[in-house]
């Protein structure tokens, strides 16, 4: 079985780092890994998609996820969750959304209001098996004084909610390798996320 995870967010390196963590954790657990990382316009405020797929070398080939075929969509910015519906379907896709609005300048310039969270969930629902929303950016700022740790926390939430079939221990090891300067904080944020995921909010 191939597992396909789609990551979307805005700017920064958070989305990319989270996707790399998943790829590395899957690799550490012996899976064959494929995926897409579009570098380039990542830093210019556009939405950046990253794809990670893992499974068996005999079945998994395409780097990109097919329309409607994602098992998991991690949206690190809530509005972008709606733009990821291309990869989602009612039959198989779980959405894990961070309640972390980042207003695009075009909301002002084109007079198109930024939707509120319930509106976003309403639009995503027809494409989702289930939708979970976490306010990890807020919690990370409050509890660790660093909103960026919200990304790692959100990964933890996906694991805690059993929506990503990988082990917590694999992530602990990967964090040591990928975030050597903030190992303790990242592991704490991750574990806090696992707890949130288990509770479902």
């Amino acid at each position: 079985m191939t597992f396909s995870a789609f990551f979307i967010g805005v700017g920064g390196e958070g989305v990319l780092t989270s996707a790399v963590m998943v790829a590395e954790a899957a690799h550490a657990e012996g899976h064959y890994v494929r995926g897409v990382q579009l570098h380039g316009l990542a830093q210019r405020g556009g939405s950046i998609p990253t794809e990670v797929r893992f499974g068996s070398e005999k079945e998994l080939f395409s780097p990109g996820i097919m329309q409607g075929d994602a098992d998991l969509i991690m949206a690190f910015e809530q509005l972008e969750a709606v733009r990821a519906t291309h990869y989602a379907s009612k039959e198989k896709t779980s959405f894990v959304i961070e309640d972390n609005p980042f207003m695009p300048v075009y909301a002002n310039l084109l007079d198109m209001p930024y939707p509120k969270l319930p509106e976003i969930v309403r639009r995503v629902k027809p494409f989702a098996k289930n939708v979970m929303v976490f306010n990890t950016a807020y919690l990370a700022e409050k509890e660790f004084g660093n909103a960026v740790l919200g990304n790692t926390m959100l990964l933890g939430a996906a694991i805690g909610a059993k929506l990503l079939p990988l082990k917590s221990q694999s992530f602990h090891a990967v964090i040591k390798e990928l975030a050597p300067r903030m190992v303790k904080e990242n592991i704490m944020a991750f574990d806090r996320g696992v707890e949130l995921g288990k509770r479902g909010k």
Binding site: A23, L41, G46, S62, M66, V82, P104, V105
Partner: protein, 624 residues
């Protein structure tokens, strides 16, 4: 993910990283590149590991110079490589053709990355495979990161064996895809060489030229004979319907057959010039129908059609009748085509797409914008204030291309690096309109010097040239250029002075602080009154680059805030300046908005403070 993973281990690598590793394992000694997406991570990775691995790496001023640097090293017996985006090859082409005729001594690999879909904001969907035919060079195309490594390693040997430079061609979804890769061993490269004079070898004038032409064709024939089999993969299957493919299309073909439960015969070409004619002919001989999967132009398809005339005249060849030439392939394009020729059912992707479009209807788009604190936004804002609306805005390639979008809309056309000058000059030759040409600092050294010299020489009314000097090649990832002050190996070096070069060309030059509206406007007003070649150097470091530096050094900077008492809700900071850190919040529809600077997104450039007509913006707390 580690490019320097220990020998014989497995790791996950980006296609471009795997190619870098392959070059290391082949013992590459010299790598010279000008950055360009989707190939940028090859130079970026070498830049990081060059010192540690003993490779000489440089960021050259453009692709032609980069190719020539690599060729010089290869002529002197040191294995060399260059990597560029598709347009880079247009710049380098003038030297690639002749070097192919002359040949090389040590292996020379020219990596070129095509970008179907234009993910890199490219200006055309060029198919580089035509160049291989034009220059008579072999071309190899990996399908995934593992092949990226294996092919790169192998083709250095082939290049050396036949004394011919070789193309390694990727497309975006090969360069930018990740995959599990088994790595081999790399060792310290040989970096010492010597150029040996040899008139027989380097004399490429007639009548030797014709001899060389024959020789290169003979090399291609020999390579076809010896390596066709090695670079062709056949997946055995049953039935008389089959797939022929290359590059990432192979990955889609394999997965499509898994998804449809097919045992389809597949022939995959890893070498697309010369093509494996013997293998292709044998493969199509007993088939009724084949589907050729290749992104962009139908090059393999036409070749198969040609071969079929002798091998199997009744063969039905599909390809671009079922799939588009434009854009890149993916599973939802390939699956229906495969399903169709194998007569299988397939999901109705198009019907779904309609529902997805409905889901996003009415939502604000998120097109790329200048970063918060970007010097370019400030420059465009000032230029817009000084010059009339009907000014011709000659556009160019770099982050400043984003000036094409609202609220500025100040890039009337975008052609190629440096073209703002030539085309702006051409317009000035015939029109009385005011012309302003924008070029970046990296673009200045890459392709603008001839344009400037031409304007100085052909002294007709020139456009006003604005050099947007943000100190790095920002758009492709902050690589250094001749005025950055450091090299691709990270060593400090004297900065070239853009203003001195322009002065030497006889231009009226002003240098303004890109973060000061007052300075920008006054220098622009001065230049507007003058005639002849005029250059404004608008200097302000790329804010993203600054921010990363400050972060690394642990230095804090002030973020700005809006005094709600003084704010008159005029909307200038959002509607005309549009820094993404400034948000307009409507509690309810129809309510008067509140303007707020998100302290997490503000990078403290201070320009919004300068443009607020009511002095409502001020420096706030300091942030790391």
């Amino acid at each position: 993910m580690s490019v320097l993973a220990p020998a014989n281990s497995k790791t996950v690598l980006l296609g471009n990283e795997a190619i870098t590793r392959g070059a290391l394992e082949a013992g590459v000694g010299v790598v010279a590149c000008y950055p360009g997406t989707p190939s940028s991570e090859v130079p970026a990775t070498f830049s990081r590991i060059a010192k540690e691995t003993g490779v000489y790496f440089e960021y050259s001023s453009n692709e032609k110079v980069a190719f020539e640097t690599a060729a010089g090293a290869a002529w002197s017996g040191v294995r060399a490589m260059t990597a560029m985006k598709h347009f880079g090859l247009n710049v380098a082409a003038d030297s690639v053709g002749p070097v192919a005729y002359v040949g090389v001594k040590a292996g020379l690999v020219v990596m070129v990355s095509d970008d179907p879909n234009g993910w890199s904001s490219a200006q055309s969907e060029q198919d580089t495979r035509y160049y291989a035919r034009m220059f008579r060079m072999p071309m190899f195309e990996p399908a995934n990161p593992q092949e990226g490594l294996d092919y790169t390693k192998k083709i250095f040997d082939i290049s050396e064996e036949f004394e011919i430079p070789v193309f390694l061609r990727t497309t975006t979804k090969v360069s930018h895809s990740i995959g599990t890769v088994k790595v081999g061993r790399y060792k310290k490269p040989n970096r010492k060489g010597k150029f040996k004079k040899d008139m027989q070898r380097y004399y490429n004038l007639r009548p030797n030229l014709q001899k060389m032409h024959r020789a290169i064709d003979a090399k291609l024939e020999a390579i076809q004979k010896k390596y066709s089999k090695n670079f062709t993969t056949e997946i055995k299957g049953s039935g008389k319907t089959a797939i022929i493919c290359s590059g990432v299309s192979y990955e889609y073909a394999r997965e499509a057959t898994v998804l449809l439960g097919l045992k389809a015969p597949i022939l995959k070409l890893g070498m697309t010039h010369p093509m494996p004619d013997k293998e292709l002919s044998a493969f199509i001989k007993n088939k009724d129908e084949v589907l050729v999967l290749e992104e962009l132009q139908p090059i393999i398809e036409e070749h198969v059609t040609q071969l079929a005339k002798a091998a199997n005249p009744k063969l039905v060849v599909h390809g671009k009748d079922l799939l588009p030439k434009e854009g890149e392939y993916n599973l939802e394009k390939v699956l229906p085509a495969v399903a169709k020729i194998f007569k299988k059912k397939c999901p109705d992707f198009a019907a779904r797409t309609k529902k997805e479009q409905d889901a996003v209807k009415g939502l604000p788009p998120r097109k790329p914008v200048f970063c918060a604190g970007c010097p370019h936004r400030s420059t465009f804002y000032a230029v817009n204030k000084v010059f009339p609306k009907d000014t011709v805005w000659a556009g160019d390639i770099g982050c400043y291309v984003l000036g094409i979008f609202e609220p500025f809309e100040m890039q009337d056309f975008i052609v190629s690096m440096g073209a703002s000058l030539g085309i702006g000059h051409g317009i000035s030759c015939v029109s009385d309109q005011e012309v302003v040409a924008f070029i970046g600092d990296s673009t200045f050294f890459h392709a603008s010097l001839p344009g400037l010299a031409n304007m100085a020489f052909n002294n007709c009314k020139s456009p006003l040239v604005i050099v947007m000097d943000n100190s790095v090649t920002a758009m492709t990832g902050h690589q250094p250029h001749p005025a950055s002050g450091f090299t691709g190996m990270g060593d400090p070096v004297k900065k070239l002075s853009i203003e001195d070069i322009c002065k030497e060309l006889g231009a009226e030059v002003r240098v303004a602080n890109a973060f000061s509206q007052k300075d920008l406007v006054s220098k622009l007003e001065e230049l507007k009154k003058l005639k002849g070649l005029r250059v404004l150097v608008s200097r302000g470091e790329c804010r993203l680059f600054t921010k990363r530096k400050l972060r690394k050094q642990g230095v804090d900077f002030p973020v700005f805030e809006i005094d709600q008492e003084k704010c008159k809700k005029c909307g200038v900071c959002t509607d005309q300046f549009a820094c993404p850190a400034i948000v307009e919040i409507h509690e309810k529809k129809g309510d008067k908005p509140t303007y707020w600077i998100n302290p997490d997104h503000c990078w403290g450039c201070s320009v919004c403070m300068q443009i607020c007509p009511y002095g409502a913006i001020r420096a706030g707390v300091r942030k790391k």
